[in-house]
């Protein structure tokens, strides 16, 4: 029995280590945190942001996996939704960046001046696509 518990314990820690390391690795590759620090000019708070990410991950794993609920007002979902969306939006933007899609595309089509308008196309595409997905596509 003790052996079994120890093995399960060990597997759990191993899995958590791999997933946690992977998560941090992908965040580092995408460079979202440096970007946010650059925008907000808070380079000194790097440690704080690290703690923020770690506690977010630990809290969400625990809270999410335990099927708990806080029976709170649905209005709390609005700020959570905005925060989730912003994070995913930055991830998506960073991913396009890492894949080097835009520089090549801009060079090919040769619209350097209208870069912003083309960025807007991507941005509204994401926004409308997401809205369409939630309001129509999921009902199909």
């Amino acid at each position: 029995m003790t052996i079994k518990i120890l093995i399960i314990f060990f597997i759990g820690i191993g899995g958590g280590l791999a997933v946690g390391a992977g998560f941090v690795a992908i965040l580092t590759v995408f460079g979202i945190i440096p970007r946010l620090m650059q925008i907000s000019k808070t380079y000194n708070y790097l440690r704080g942001y690290e703690i923020g990410i770690i506690s977010g991950v630990v809290f969400a794993s625990w809270y999410g996996l335990r099927d708990m609920t806080i029976h709170s007002s649905p209005l709390l979902l609005i700020p959570i939704g905005i925060a989730c969306g912003t994070f995913v939006g930055m991830l998506a933007a960073a991913l396009t960046e890492v894949l080097n899609v835009l520089p090549i595309l801009m060079k090919r089509v040769g619209f350097k001046e209208q870069l912003l308008i083309l960025l807007m196309a991507i941005l509204f595409g994401k926004l409308i696509g997401s809205l369409f997905h939630w309001t129509y596509f999921v009902h199909l």
Binding site: Q38, I82, K107, L119, K126, S130
Partner: protein
């Protein structure tokens, strides 16, 4: 008599119109005695023809050769890049507008499809249902109260990342996209420099 020294620095990149004659002053910055810089500056280095297509690379040696032929006694000190990339700017055709709209639509529809695929791929719907339950304690198959702010947040996140609210930027620093475009251009330039020079070499050997 003092030795005349002419300081010469090749420009990195030069945009010209078709049929333009490229002179020394166009492709290089010159510092030296006024009369020397003005006469040397007027020397013709290259005449753009249709044969050149869009990119010509002028090597520093070619410029030095030209200056030397003109005035063998002049001492030239060179600084900076050893070649200039000349980009021939042909007038744009009229269909650009239509083309632009097509590209816009392509990007718009493409990114909409990409985000939908992403949501399906990571089971975003069930994650949102779960978040709805975690907060409110009720089951809701369509948690729009979470999903609509989420969608707008998506747009906001991309704006933040690219450092633009359309025309207005948050700060003076270049956006990652601009840096990325710059890097890509640098790579292209390096390729062009190497490649065009190799071609020149081959041509002289063939002759």
């Amino acid at each position: 008599m003092d030795v005349e020294i002419l300081y010469l620095r090749m420009r990195h990149r030069l945009v010209v119109s078709p049929d333009q004659t490229v002179r020394v002053k166009d492709i290089a910055q010159l510092v030296g005695p006024d009369d020397t810089t003005s006469t040397i500056g007027q020397l013709t280095i290259h005449k753009i023809t249709v044969h050149d297509k869009t990119i010509v690379v002028i090597d520093l040696m070619k410029v030095l050769q030209r200056i030397r032929n003109f005035n063998p006694g002049l001492e030239v000190q060179t600084v900076g890049p050893v070649q200039t990339i000349i980009e021939v700017n042909y007038p744009k055709t009229k269909i650009t507008g239509v083309y632009f709209v097509l590209v816009w639509m392509l990007l718009f529809i493409g990114s909409a499809l990409a985000i939908m695929n992403f949501h399906e791929d990571v089971s975003m719907q069930s994650v949102h249902q779960k978040i709805y339950y975690l907060i409110t304690g009720k089951q809701n198959d369509y948690p729009l109260l979470l999903q609509i702010p989420y969608s707008f947040g998506l747009g906001l996140g991309m704006v933040l990342f690219f450092n633009h609210i359309f025309k207005k930027r948050f700060n003076e620093e270049p956006s990652p996209l601009e840096v990325e475009m710059f890097n890509y251009q640098q790579d292209l330039d390096l390729y062009v420099i190497m490649n065009e020079n190799k071609e020149n070499e081959k041509k002289t050997n063939d002759d």
